[in-house]
């Protein structure tokens, strides 16, 4: 089967957004306290919650 370009983006677009959010989260708290900490909790919260959700969902 031939890989089509659209396949790549169909599979990787969501993971890419999550990866960018995580990276922003890791970086944000290095820049300051307060709002920057808050941004980092959002950025790192997204992968943590998505992972837990997949794990704990029953049906």
């Amino acid at each position: 089967m031939k890989p089509r370009q659209s396949n790549f983006w169909k599979v990787f677009s969501t993971p890419l957004v999550i990866a960018l959010l995580s990276a922003a989260g890791l970086f944000a708290a290095l820049l300051g306290d307060g709002i920057w900490d808050g941004l980092s909790w959002i950025g790192l919260g997204v992968p943590a919650i998505l992972g837990l959700k997949g794990l704990l969902q029953r049906s």
């Binding site: 890989p3 396949n7 790549f8 169909k10 599979v11 990787f12 969501t14 993971p15 999550i18 990866a19 995580s22 990276a23 890791l26 708290a29 290095l30 820049l31 300051g32 306290d33 920057w36 900490d37 980092s40 909790w41 790192l44 919260g45 997204v46 992968p47 943590a48 998505l50 992972g51 837990l52 959700k53 997949g54 794990l55 969902q57 029953r58 049906s59």
Partner: protein
């Protein structure tokens, strides 16, 4: 992707993961309590109680603190004084028989900067948390242990990259986040392995790479000594050994004058591995949040207190400085620590499910192999 290409990536993913899994499980499990080491030490009662005194109580000068330290542990010398922003009235003190004594044989405690009173920090010298830390850092095997763990970290990074490549063929016909729960246990865990693996990708890569850098710290410091430090102290190569040290009283003022806008992080006394035989090294950190992880050493002649050099920071020392917060997860308050722990647990699940999937596949492949072997 051709099936041959998939098979190759699959081979890389299987074997890099399998080789590093046992070590990564050890690192992830010991890393979990280490995220909360501060809180655990408080719970265990190992954190020193700093005396309440009026906020403007003056500090002793550094020479007086050196005397207080020497009175507390007669026969030993001060190796390092450390300064922490959240404990401005204490000075972290590390002493040993000689300045050159290796770190694991040193004794760490705190001095009250106002009274010179010694406050013991038992968790820095022994006990459960230090045991866990040593398991995490070098498995009690010194430099070879660190380098072995660094190599396992490199395998982990290769496993993450190859796993990401394989995510494409596995997920081509599935929506993001779909977990097939109704087919078989193997499929359910395959989907979970892929899902959790891909969402924790960035975090695991960053913690993996910064862990490798930290594990190579001894080599990085040795390179710094060979490179920058040796050039700076070249004029002292043939100087006779110091018989007595000029008092440390004004070290912070002297360093502050040549490194404006920076704050002291620690002082390495003459003869330690962060200094030379003839210098006090005051390591100054940047004044902003980001640059507070980057250290600039100021070398001060220990016989006449003249500044010998304000060192340039080689890039690898900066890389080591930035690796620490990004590995420890201690730079964004308690919510970040909880997220760090969650992502760590998720990584443990990815590791364990990876082993499970490999075992199940092998078992499934065996009946096909056995008749072939029997006929051979």
């Amino acid at each position: 992707m051709k099936s041959k290409t998939i098979r190759r990536w699959s081979f890389v993913h299987t074997w890099t993961s399998l080789i590093c899994t046992v070590f990564l499980l050890l690192l992830a499990l010991t890393g979990l309590p280490l995220i909360f080491h501060h809180e655990i030490e408080h719970l265990l009662g190992d954190a020193p109680q700093v005396r309440e005194m009026p906020a403007d109580t003056p500090h002793l000068n550094l020479a007086q603190l050196v005397q207080a330290a020497e009175a507390h542990r007669p026969g030993e010398v001060v190796q390092y004084f450390g300064f922490e922003d959240d404990e401005p009235n204490t000075v972290l003190t590390i002493m040993a028989k000689t300045a050159g004594t290796e770190p694991n044989a040193s004794h760490t405690f705190m001095l009250d900067a106002r009274t010179g009173e010694a406050l013991e920090t038992p968790s820095a010298n022994g006990g459960l948390m230090l045991f866990i830390l040593r398991l995490h850092v070098d498995m009690f095997a010194g430099l070879p242990g660190k380098l072995l763990l660094a190599f396992m970290g490199v395998l982990f990074v290769v496993a993450i990259v190859s796993g990401t490549v394989l995510y494409l063929p596995f997920m081509r016909r599935l929506d993001f986040g779909s977990v097939r729960r109704d087919k078989s246990t193997r499929l359910r865990w395959l989907d979970l392995h892929n899902l959790i693996g891909i969402v924790t990708l960035t975090w695991a890569l960053v913690v993996g790479v910064t862990g490798v850098i930290s594990a190579c710290a001894d080599l990085i410091i040795a390179a710094w000594r060979n490179d920058s430090l040796n050039t700076m102290i070249a004029p002292y190569r043939d100087a006779p050994p110091l018989t007595h040290l000029a008092p440390a009283t004004r070290l912070l003022d002297i360093a502050g004058e040549v490194a404006p806008g920076m704050k002291p992080d620690f002082i390495a006394f003459p003869g330690t591995r962060f200094s030379s035989e003839h210098h006090y090294s005051v390591f100054m950190k940047g004044g902003t949040h980001l640059t507070s992880h980057l250290l600039t050493p100021v070398l001060i002649d220990a016989s006449n207190l003249q500044v010998t050099a304000v060192a340039e920071r080689p890039w690898y020392m900066d890389a080591m400085g930035m690796s620490q917060p990004l590995h420890f997860g201690d730079y964004g308050g308690m919510p970040m620590k909880i997220l760090w722990a969650t992502l760590d647990v998720l990584t443990i699940i990815v590791l364990a499910s990876g082993v499970y999937l490999w075992v199940v596949r092998r078992r499934a492949a065996r009946p096909v192999l056995e008749p072939a072997q029997a006929s051979a």
